[in-house]
Symmetry: C2
Subunit: 343 residues, 2 copies
């Protein structure tokens, strides 16, 4: 059985998602700098998963530290937190997980106790995430009718989280409830998370999955082949506007135009009451070679301009419901995230 990420006493191990679907290769990092690089270079990706990876990276830095003065240790560890905070800008779960680790560092008065607490907290974040996803799945599966074909985008699956998945957790839960469902997975250019990762993990679970190109979504919606869309999220602003993988906004417009429900599944840690709306969300721009080359093969002429925003913002008005482990916000355009973050 595969795993996304694992704490291995003196190392952080993770599946190298860049090698999927052809090779299942695990990396074992014994140095926190390598964990930060793994987040940056998308060995591990997905908002909840990079939160867990950062927490484990900080725990790794702690147990490897040779400093024996508590103040110097705390100062070094806060710098480590800063390094992880700079790896990727859009997913708020990253900052949420780092904050949990930072709170422990700031309160601590003893190096060994602090190291133990950080290791324990990182594992707790991981375990909690899996439990959270199962709750999201349970709340979300009520929206998936028997016989539905569900479209998903990017990968909000076991491999984007500690395990089970958010959007794919809802699909897994529906299957566990005995519903016969089919999945359309959009390939999700440029990084092809839908083709390489979602298709791979659903195929492993024997869930009936059809891969399509992103530009085919409208065509299949028009042919009434899709009954709902479900995606994950990287950050949900106070008004319900949702940052997720580039292309999600396009899918939300298509769903709306065809009268198809559009669901966002995400843990509470993705909700960001400090960000008023989508305009305030920082959108990461990634290297243009991710578009110009596909696994080393050049597909664009040398010297052409390319734009590569990694995320876009879906306005709350295009979202039918936001599904979390604490419950569901229907019509988030009306209430924003208030019903859950204030509750």
């Amino acid at each position: 059985m595969y795993y996304t990420i694992r704490w291995d006493e003196t190392a952080v191990s993770m599946l190298d998602q860049r090698m999927l679907p052809v090779q299942e290769v695990y990396r074992h990092y014994t140095n926190y700098h390598d964990v930060a690089d793994a987040i940056r270079s998308m060995v591990v990706r997905g908002a909840p998963a990079i939160g867990i990876a950062a927490a484990m990276g900080i725990a790794l830095a702690a147990i490897k530290s040779k400093i024996n003065n508590i103040n110097d240790f705390k100062s070094e560890m806060l710098q480590v937190c800063q390094i992880f905070a700079s790896t990727r800008p859009t997913a708020v779960n990253l900052f949420w997980a780092i904050n949990r680790m930072r709170n422990i560092i700031e309160k601590s008065e003893d190096i060994d106790a602090c190291k133990n607490d950080l290791v324990h907290e990182a594992q707790k974040i991981h375990q909690e995430d899996i439990e959270i996803n199962k709750k999201i799945g349970e709340f979300g599966q009520k929206y998936i009718g028997d016989g539905f074909t569900v479209m998903t985008y990017c990968n909000a699956g076991a491999l984007a989280t500690g395990g089970y998945g958010t959007a794919l957790g809802v699909i897994r839960s529906a299957v566990e409830h005995g519903k016969k469902i089919k999945v359309y997975s959009c390939e999700t250019r440029p990084y092809l998370q839908g083709a390489r990762i979602t298709a791979w993990e659903l195929f492993k679970d024997n869930i009936d999955t059809t891969l399509i190109c992103d530009n085919m979504a409208g065509h299949f919606m028009k042919k009434s082949e899709i009954q709902c869309v479900i995606v994950g999220a990287d950050r949900i602003a106070a008004n319900g506007d949702t940052a997720n993988k580039i292309g999600t906004y396009t899918m939300s417009i298509l769903a709306k135009a065809h009268g198809i429900p559009f669901y966002v599944a995400a843990p509470i840690s993705t909700l960001d009451p400090d960000t008023p709306d989508g305009n305030s969300i920082i959108i990461e721009e990634r290297n243009i070679d991710e578009i110009a080359y596909i696994q080393g093969v050049q597909i664009a002429p040398e010297g052409i301009f390319i734009k590569n925003p990694a995320f876009d913002v879906t306005p709350a008005a295009n979202i039918t419901a936001i599904i979390t482990e604490k419950g569901v916000i229907e019509n988030p355009a009306v209430t924003g995230i208030g019903p859950l973050v204030n509750g």
Copy 2:
């Protein structure tokens, strides 16, 4: 200077578009079967260009024929027409060009005269196509304001036609009229005509072009970075419904949702009064390995279901205007193609 296709006395030469943008390789076919294969395997693609290729392939078959009985010759040539008619099903220009050749065959009473006439007709179809594109460009450029950023999809350029292009002909004409314009080229999965071909030919012409992934179109429209969309067509039904490269429909929905004009540029030979509406258009399904592999690199798990429709249908209601060499149909949803085919 590159060319799409050329009649070379005893051969048909064409740029192998599968090798772009890395290599500029020309193929020289001396056997009509190889020309038919070149159409099937997309060495040459684009509705007007495959019409020209089929016409030249038929001319090639004629001059290579060793038959010296006129009736046997005509019968052989009609079979050749049939072979070309079976290469690809969606683009109506293919059948239009074959019909022009078939009319000559059916009327002919002398083998040598027929051979001459077929060679002449194929070259005429080619020459006329370039002139037609320049007229389309002239009519179309009026819709492109100075300073516009124009989004285009797939390749409706010099390499989809005898030269100059339909949608890209409109862009070229706007540039020739001194307008400063920018182009956003959608990469167009799975065959990547936008990344490999449109970006390549516009870059050669020093037209300011930015490559984006198909799923980014909505994001850039929302940011008001795009003032209009212009695409080609493979078949336009009597009511104005338009078959074009898969994904065009999705772009038309996005344009409509953002209040952005959506233009179709195509020669009259693309208008098909015999097809009442989009539901009657046959949509080619291509090999799923075009999605599972990108130039030999596997991007999808072995055994996963994949769908690969090559075209979709944009309803007339999503089209602001259809631009042809005979004039423009504004609001085709109101009139269908009647104003031009009956005119």
